[in-house]
Every structure is written in structure tokens, then in C-alpha cells.
């Protein structure tokens, strides 16, 4: 890959030795510096000492929960956190995303995917805001300019209602990162609207019909099953081996 990861500092908090060493091997092959911790306490201490550029955090730690660690970290740090979760643990994943984790990977995962996601997180966090607003997005026939409130599909302008804009903005500002249903709902509607499950689904469907070539095979607004949605900005899907 073209990304220079030699300055990448990765903190891996995982209690299983073999997984930890596999992750270490993957990052060190990209010339990143890897720090390891096996417990929440040690992880927090290392995070303070070492100031990593990304943290890879396992959900099942012996001396506490990843949730506790996220909460603590987020009081003083915005470091990107990538969670390693077990299969079928949607509740855990969503909870951690709500607490400040940025993305997740389901075990068993491929190290290629791990590297790709970690790089994406670091890239986002080191991006400096462009004067005048975020750079417009243009990909695969879709053009989105949040600052100008303009959307075009294949050159033709697309009209979005205010609600649809708010939802699209919430997704695009966090492109590449999964957003939970709760986060998206809070961003667009106030909480006083009671049982909102179906509203979010419906507006996402509306957005897909307006922006995607095939709403049943979405390219940009992807479903994170059991968790929420994600706006995908990667140029192609060829490096994603498992979904």
C-alpha cells in the first residue's frame, strides 16, 4: 500500500497471546511500532505513556470491559479505537461505538482487513480541516458537497429534503466508520420522537433510492447488520476479503 506507516504507533490490548502476536506481526510488516497490553489497566497506562496513533481493543478482557476502557480514554483522548468483537455480539459492538469506538472487526478477521481499517482510522484522525469546509466527495458518479448542499448523481442534481440532508451529513462526516442507529437518530431527530426505529430505516431507504445505482446493492450507504449504517468511501471493494 502507498500509505507510510513507519510512524504508526499501534497499541494492541488483547489478552490472547497468539492473536496479539499475529497482530504484531501484521503491523510490524508495515513497519509500524507496536505496543502490547493484556489487561484494561495496563492498556490505559500504556495509552497515557505511549500516545498511540490507533488502539486495537479486544472486547473480552479479563479485568474489565472494553466499554470501561473506552469511556476512560474518551475523557482525555480522541485516539481512534478499533474494536475486535466476537461473532453475533451486535449489542457489544453498538455499545462500544456509542461510547466512542470508531470501528470494529469481527473475529476471526484477516490481518489485511485489520491493516486497512487501522490505516483508514489514522488517516481520518490526522486530516486537517480544509479552510472553507470539507472537500466535496466525488466517486463513481456520485457528487456530494456538504458545504454547498449539493448532490448530483451522474451529473443530474438530486433534491434532498432537510431530513435527508441531515441524515446524509451525519453519515458522510463519519465516512468509513459505522454509526449506530442511536447515533444517527440523535443526529437527525431529537429524542422526543419516541419509538423511532422505522423512521431511520425509511429515510435511509429514501437516500439509497436517490443516490445509489441499485438500492438493493448499495455502494455508498452500507448496512452494518445489527449495529447501524456506514458511508463507504473506499474506491473499490477488492481489498475487502470478508464483509
Amino acid at each position: 500500500m502507498t500509505e507510510d506507516t513507519s510512524s504508526l504507533r499501534v497499541l494492541v490490548i488483547e489478552d490472547d497471546t497468539s492473536i496479539r502476536s499475529a497482530i504484531r506481526a501484521a503491523f510490524e510488516a508495515e513497519r509500524a511500532t507496536v505496543f502490547e497490553a493484556a489487561t484494561v489497566a495496563h492498556g490505559l497506562r500504556l495509552a497515557r505513556e505511549v500516545r498511540p496513533s490507533v488502539i486495537v481493543l479486544d472486547l473480552g478482557l479479563p479485568d474489565g470491559t472494553g466499554a470501561g476502557l473506552c469511556e476512560s480514554l474518551r475523557t482525555w483522548s480522541a485516539v481512534p479505537i478499533l474494536v475486535l468483537s466476537a461473532q453475533h455480539d451486535d449489542v457489544g459492538k453498538a455499545a462500544l461505538l456509542d461510547l466512542g469506538a470508531d470501528d470494529y472487526l469481527t473475529k476471526p478477521f484477516s490481518t489485511v482487513e485489520l491493516l486497512a481499517r487501522a490505516r483508514a482510522l489514522v488517516r481520518r484522525s490526522t486530516m486537517r480541516p480544509v479552510p472553507g469546509g470539507d472537500i466535496p466527495i466525488e466517486q463513481d458518479g456520485l457528487f456530494i458537497d456538504l458545504a454547498e448542499r449539493r448532490v448530483e448523481r451522474d451529473g443530474a442534481p438530486v433534491h434532498l429534503t432537510p431530513t435527508e440532508w441531515a441524515l446524509l451529513a451525519a453519515l458522510v462526516r463519519n465516512a468509513g466508520r459505522p454509526r449506530t442507529h442511536a447515533q444517527l437518530f440523535d443526529a437527525v431527530w431529537s429524542r422526543s420522537h419516541g419509538d423511532a426505529q422505522q423512521y431511520l430505516r425509511v429515510y435511509v431507504a429514501h437516500l439509497r433510492r436517490k443516490l445509489e445505482r441499485d438500492p438493493l446493492r448499495p455502494r455508498f450507504i452500507l448496512t452494518e447488520p445489527g449495529v447501524g449504517y456506514r458511508f463507504e468511501l473506499r474506491p473499490s471493494r477488492e481489498d475487502a476479503a470478508d464483509g
Binding site: 478477521f109 456538504l146 431530513t163 447515533q183 425509511v202 431507504a205
Partner: protein, 527 residues
């Protein structure tokens, strides 16, 4: 008064003897006695006789002594005529007194006897109550009540049975068909029944004494079956059987009803004891199962994760065999997950989060995964993308699992080049999703068992164990839906999943509260 006829005969004979024994000396001393003395002596005798030999003997003695008084002790002697007519008044007065006294005495005696019997009854019942409550096991309490009823009512056999026959330790064997039918009829109708002397079954309510004395007892019977109630709930029956035809008098019936209460309580106690045992066993089994599941889950998955990560590393370094390792690891992981989930599904212990979801969300993910997992397979999807949006109530992750398993199943068996069709539509209050393939289909003999574990795998000769369909069916059920198999017309299989649909609220959707049309979007989302 003596209870038994023998005693009563003896008392009667004794009375006769006493009568003679009293009359003779009175006769001898007739000159020195007043009529009053003789009358009083006889009256005493009448009272004694009534007490000992009963009212009838006392009455007879009253008449006999009346005649004796006239014949032996009032002039003219040895005739039934009276010299002084005013003696008739005295005589008749005497007779009346004696008869009334005899009658009163008998009644008092009888009342005293009844009271003593009642006291004995109450004492027996109280003791039985103490026994059945204090019995260490519920079965012992039942036995105590059975033997109390047997002894008190003098029947050969007494049995107390619960209304579900599986509930008692020893099932009675070798019973007559008539008794079995009678028991079933009583349990069904909730009314007492009996087998009479001719062997005919009759169902009729048995009278029960109220506060006053009642005359009715039971009819004659060989077997009597009475239903037992606790607060109007039928809990079982008490059965009496005797080698000869017998009947229960009012007192015995009253006793039976009273003891039946204890029988009902003992039955209920046995049922509660069984429930407690079963719940404790279930809790223990559940605890053990979760322990095993957690341990297996962690201990199996962790090395699998490590192996996969390392294998990917090798694959990236160029080792072609490593790719195979990852595929095998994935297969193993899926099997482990399926096994654990199947075990949880069987125990209704798998967490399920039912929410309102858009079906197309799940379809998009399934298609995406299929595109990478089985890129050579054409998956055609049909879903109306117009309004209204197809919404359902289900657990999204579980639905994905079901659809993925169905797709994999179809892919495994269908010939290369044939498509798999995925159709989603609304039918009434259901969302219906169907996955069809053009494979060999399921042979007719297996169609009823296609959702059982390990069924389809061995038949198709495939290496993959047939758990996918079992898990899919279990997940469908856990989401209050159903999964069914049908042969596809033209060859192949159609698996149809039915789930509850959801509808948009009729009032329409709310618009965002924070953004106006002509302003730039605010930072409404927290990053």
C-alpha cells in the same frame, strides 16, 4: 347402649331376667309395700333397661311393668280389673311416665354417642392432618391419607391419584377396564362416580351433610371414585374399592369428604414438590450448558482466530496453501458457531433483539457477502423498491444468518451456472422471503426432517455438516416466524421464511426539528 346386635340381645335377655328378679321379691313383700314403692322400683328398672338395651326394650318393659303393677299389685290381685277406678289414673300416669322416660333416655344416649363419634372423627382427622403435613416426602403424606381412609371407612382398597397419570410414582397395574373408564369419566366430568353391584357405571353427585342430620348415604357400590378439588381446580381422584358391594352411610360420607380435603392437599403438595425439583434441575442444566458454551466458545474461537490471522499473514507473504488454511478455519468457526447457537436455540437461551427493520438492509448485506463468498454464483433478487417500504419485525443479525445459511445451502448443491433466486414480498401481515435453487431438491423421504441437524449433509454427500438449516429453522422460530421447505416446480428447492411485517405509522414521518431549508447544515451530529 351396646352397639352390636349381640350385646343388644344379651341386654334384652338380662332385662327380662331382671324384670323377673325384681318382681318376685316385690310380690313377696307386697303386704308391707305401698303401690308407689313398686311403681318407682319398676320405673328405675325401665330407665336402666332403656339405657342398656335401648328404647324399644325400655318401652316394652314399661308396658310389661304397667301390666304387672295392675295384675300383681293392685286389688283385686291376679286380675286386670281394678277395685278402685281412681287407680287407673295412677296406672296410666305411670305408663306415660315410663314410656316418655324411656324415650328421652334413649335420645340422650344417642346424642351422647353421636357426639362421642364426632369427637373421635375430629380427633382422627386432626391426627391425619398432622401426619400429612409432617410427612417428610409428599408420597408419604399420600400414603398416610390413603390408609386413614381405608381404616376409617373399612374398605379394602383406597387410592389417591393425580389427574395426570404420569405424576405419581407407582402406576396401578392390573385394573379392570371398567375402573379405568370410570376414573377417566370422573376426571373428565368432575363429578363422583361409582360402579354398582351390577358393574354399571353411574355418575351422580353424592349428598353431603350440611349442618343438620341427613338420612341419605351413598348407593351400593363396588368401586367409588370421587374427584378432588383445590379451590375449584380438579387435582385428582380418590378411589375406594371393596371386595363386596358396600355402601357408605351419612356419617361415613361426611368423613370421606373431610378426608378428601387432605387427599387433595397431599396431591397438590406432591405436584409442587415435583415442580420444584424440575425447576431446580432445569436451572442446573441451564447453568451447566452456559458454562460449557462459554468455555467452548472462548477456547475454540481463540485459537481459530490466531490461526486465521497467521495464515493470512502467510498468504500475504505468498504461501498459496495458507489460503486453504483460512478457508478451513472459516469453516470450523462457522461450525462451532452453529453448534453453540443450536444448543442455545434448543434451550430458548439465545438472545433475540426484535426491532423494526427494512428488509432491503439485510438483502443488501446478504448480496454483498454472497458476491465475495460465492462470486461465481448468480444471485437474483426480486423486491419491490417502490413505496411502501417493506418493513418487518425481526432480529437483523439473525435474519442475515438465516438468509446466508439458505444461500450457502442452495449454492452447495445447485449445478454451476444456475441462479439462486431471492424474493422478498409482503403477504397480508407477513413478510415472506424465499430462496430458490435449481439443485437436486430434497428427496421426499427426507422432506419432513430437512430442518433436523445433520440431515441434508450426509444425503448430499457433502463435507459440510448439515447444521445450517437446523440453525436457520431455530432462528426463524426464535423470531416468531417460520421456515418451510417446498420442492421447486421444475426441479430444485424453495425455502420460504415468514416473519411478522411492520407498518409505517399512519400519521406519517416526522421531519427533522433542527434544520431549516435555507441554512447550511449545522453540526448536529456528535463526532
Amino acid at each position: 347402649m351396646a352397639d352390636r346386635p349381640v350385646d343388644r340381645h344379651a341386654a334384652t335377655i338380662l332385662t327380662g331376667v331382671a324384670f323377673v328378679a325384681v318382681t318376685l321379691p316385690l310380690l313377696a313383700f307386697r303386704a308391707r309395700l305401698e303401690t308407689l314403692d313398686v311403681a318407682l322400683a319398676y320405673l328405675l328398672l325401665v330407665l336402666l333397661a332403656s339405657a342398656r338395651a335401648g328404647g324399644r326394650v325400655g318401652g316394652a318393659l314399661a308396658v310389661a311393668s304397667f301390666l304387672a303393677l295392675n295384675f300383681f299389685f293392685l286389688p283385686p290381685y291376679y286380675t286386670l280389673a281394678l277395685a278402685e277406678p281412681r287407680n287407673w289414673i295412677a296406672l296410666i300416669a305411670y305408663l306415660g311416665t315410663a314410656l316418655v322416660a324411656a324415650r328421652l333416655l334413649e335420645r340422650a344416649q344417642r346424642a351422647a354417642r353421636t357426639a362421642a363419634e364426632r369427637a373421635a372423627e375430629i380427633d382422627r382427622i386432626a391426627r391425619l392432618g398432622a401426619d400429612s403435613i409432617g410427612a417428610p416426602r409428599a408420597a408419604d403424606a399420600l400414603r398416610a391419607v390413603e390408609s386413614a381412609i381405608r381404616d376409617s371407612l373399612c374398605v379394602a382398597v383406597c387410592r389417591i391419584l393425580p389427574d395426570d397419570p404420569g405424576g405419581i410414582d407407582e402406576a396401578p397395574t392390573g385394573e379392570s377396564a371398567a375402573l379405568v373408564a370410570l376414573r377417566a369419566a370422573v376426571l373428565d366430568r368432575g363429578v363422583p362416580g361409582l360402579l354398582d353391584a351390577q358393574g354399571i357405571t353411574r355418575l351422580r353427585p353424592l349428598s353431603q351433610s350440611g349442618t343438620g342430620a341427613d338420612v341419605e348415604g351413598s348407593p351400593d357400590f363396588r368401586c367409588l371414585v370421587m374427584p378432588l378439588y383445590i379451590r375449584e381446580r380438579l387435582v385428582g381422584v380418590v378411589e375406594l374399592a371393596h371386595d363386596r358391594t358396600m355402601r357408605l352411610d351419612a356419617g361415613a360420607l361426611r368423613l370421606l369428604h373431610a378426608l378428601a380435603h387432605y387427599a387433595a392437599l397431599a396431591l397438590d403438595r406432591a405436584r409442587l414438590a415435583r415442580e420444584v425439583e424440575r425447576e431446580a434441575a432445569e436451572r442446573e442444566a441451564s447453568r451447566l450448558r452456559e458454562m460449557v458454551v462459554a468455555a467452548v466458545s472462548h477456547d475454540l474461537r481463540t485459537p481459530l482466530t490466531a490461526i486465521r490471522a497467521l495464515a493470512w499473514q502467510s498468504a500475504a507473504d505468498g504461501d498459496p496453501r495458507a489460503l486453504t488454511i483460512t478457508e478451513e478455519v472459516d469453516r470450523l468457526s462457522a461450525l462451532v458457531a452453529d453448534l453453540l447457537d443450536l444448543s442455545r436455540l434448543r434451550a430458548n437461551a439465545l438472545p433475540v433483539r426484535i426491532e423494526v427493520n427494512a428488509v432491503e438492509d439485510a438483502l443488501g448485506v446478504v448480496l454483498d457477502r454472497a458476491a465475495s463468498a460465492m462470486p461465481e454464483r448468480e444471485v437474483r433478487v426480486a423486491l419491490e423498491t417502490g413505496e411502501p417500504l417493506l418493513l418487518g419485525r425481526y432480529d437483523e443479525a439473525h435474519l442475515l444468518r438465516v438468509l446466508t445459511n439458505l444461500l450457502e445451502n442452495g449454492h452447495r448443491l445447485a449445478p454451476a451456472g444456475s441462479p439462486i433466486d431471492l424474493v422478498a414480498r409482503r403477504e397480508g401481515s407477513d413478510v415472506v422471503l424465499s430462496v430458490s435453487d435449481r439443485g437436486p431438491g430434497v428427496p421426499e423421504a427426507l422432506r419432513g426432517r430437512v430442518f433436523e441437524p445433520f440431515v441434508s449433509g450426509e444425503e448430499a454427500g457433502s463435507r459440510r455438516a448439515g447444521l445450517g438449516l437446523a440453525v436457520a429453522a431455530g432462528l426463524a422460530q426464535a423470531m416468531h416466524g417460520e421456515l418451510r421447505y417446498d420442492p421447486r416446480p421444475g426441479g430444485g428447492s424453495v425455502f420460504t421464511l415468514r416473519l411478522p411485517a411492520a407498518d409505517l405509522p399512519p400519521s406519517g414521518l416526522p421531519n427533522t426539528a433542527t434544520i431549516a431549508d435555507d441554512r447550511a447544515p449545522t453540526d448536529a451530529d456528535a463526532t
